[in-house]
Amino acid sequence: MMRGLMGAAAAAIVLVGLAGPATAAEDKLPAQNWSFDGVFGSYDRAALQRGFQVYQEVCAGCHGVKYIAFRNLTELGLDEGQVKAIAAEYEVEGGPDDDGEMFTRPAILSDYLPEPFANDNAARASNNGALPPDLSLMAKARTGGPDYLYALLTDGYADPPDDVMLGEGMSYNRYFRGNQIAMPPPLDDDAVEYTDGTSATVEQMSLDVVHFLMWAAEPKLEARKRMGIKVILFLLVLTALLYASKRRIWSRVDH
């Protein structure tokens, strides 16, 4: 039975592999080399900070990251003073005050990053009817994750094939579901000026902003992987000891 089950397990793995989601019209995703991949993966703090800059200066006009609070930004490798300064650049609604009036005040650490539009209708009105999705979970909410986002932002944008008629205001993107995307190519070379001197090519900015979005979607990734290594090592030792104990106990009887 053991051999049969191994065969069945192998067959199951093959089937799962074959069972990938059907992507009829969309191209296959090229895989990137992310520092957060793998068992020992971690975020690159410089990339996170550059990515946040790209988000702030390019994406934030249309897309929110509503699950991220300013206090979370210390995880990008910024100190509390820097984050407080960043927060103070944003205005948020406070109140009601003693007279019952709402007012605006500079954001503080406990505030969440403000969303670009007051509501979905306002967002659609400013975007040709399309609703720019919140990006907090985007790196987990699409098949392919970071590889998909990077491909979408870089060589996904292309001239449409002759037989494709684009809707008004739509762009062609090889990797987008249905190939018609309402977001025009968001990045041009030198769209931002990096303070660390990194050259702001479209590829570099895409890598950085996707790095930032992966952190936004999975902020506990480093803690998870670090704990995972300890847990697995502990379990390997424990399981080996249990196996030795079991062998020893069973050696007392014929079986």
Partner: protein, 418 residues
Amino acid sequence: MDKFLQNPIVQWIEYRLPIFSFMNHSIVVYPTPRNLNYWWNFGSLAGIALTIQIVTGIVLAFHYTPQADLAFASVEHIMRNVNYGWLLRYVHANGGSMFFIVVFIHLFRGMYYGSYKAPREILWMLGVVILLMMMATAFMGYVLPWGQMSYWGATVITNMFTAFPIVGDWLTTLLWGGFVVDNPTLNRFFSLHYLLPFMIVGVVVVQLWGLHVHKPTNPLGIGMKGPQDSLPFHPYYTFKDMFGLGVFLLVFAWLVFFAPNLLGEADNYIPANPLVTPPHIVPEWYFLPFYAILRAIPDKLMGVIGMFGATLILFLLPWLDTCKVRSAKFRPFFKMAFWLFVADVLILGWVGKNSPEGMFIIIGRVASVYYFAHFLVILPLLGKFEPTRPLPESIGKPVLKGGGEMASGAVAAKMEKS
């Protein structure tokens, strides 16, 4: 243990509530067939998986909000702000998958070794009841994060109930708490998702009670005839089970820490939106074979009956398989049929994962027909015509006499009452 039982406090309690002798009887000296292999580990693993789900689930419920406008955000709150919330949620989400893996292996082990045969029919049926309750629990649990796949999965599955004549609409309205999947649906699913696991615990207790009457079967499928055929549960099977638990936890930990979203759907990280239908609505992996059967049948009502029937037919298995020999070891043709059935279920799972178009329609239909043919045609025929191999005389004999050979010339296929 004897010394322990002589302790005056233990004796005081024991006189009033004989819990210590009960424990001693049930999990220490409990005579267990000496030849159980590792496939018998999965019963205790299922109990552990259930316990893990209940413990993590209770703590998650401290932080989760079962309200349609807040549920998705409360899950993100657990992932981001609750101490070790990410761990709790990933353990609970992947724990569901681990529970199903373990229970499916347990179920297939029961099929291979004929564990459902007399006098263990009720044990088997209780197991099917647990499986059905697990499915309901898992389905409702998947709805709770209120993502796109939660919402649309709930819509597809609950809509199936409209197929039933007369009571269909009434039943669906009752499930929904209204006329569409909405906040009342989420509220009742949360309530039931919290309730059902404790009912599963109740059925598990009854199943264990039954198990301890006739004891487990074993790879040879013949009864224990005396002390030479058995070993005390402790320390032999406690340590075998603990080693199995270590392996189980290694696989589990790898999923939780290094691939926590592998078995999930990306779309469930998009908040539920009643106005946008995802292009491919797929259930969790453990429902895929049943989903394939549902879609293989062109008629809605028949599809629903086929899907439920695929599980319900397991209740009849003890009577569909009329062969008196339990273990597939001594049933060469049944052994082949068993592996074909396993392959068929895997194929159905693969079909369920893919869109029902092109070759998947044909494969899905053939595999669905084969699924039922296995129970309704192949098993009854095998019971009638299959030549079985001779059974060994006893469990203990092959190992205790030193020779590894099965007792040759043993009496042909004669079932022992255990």
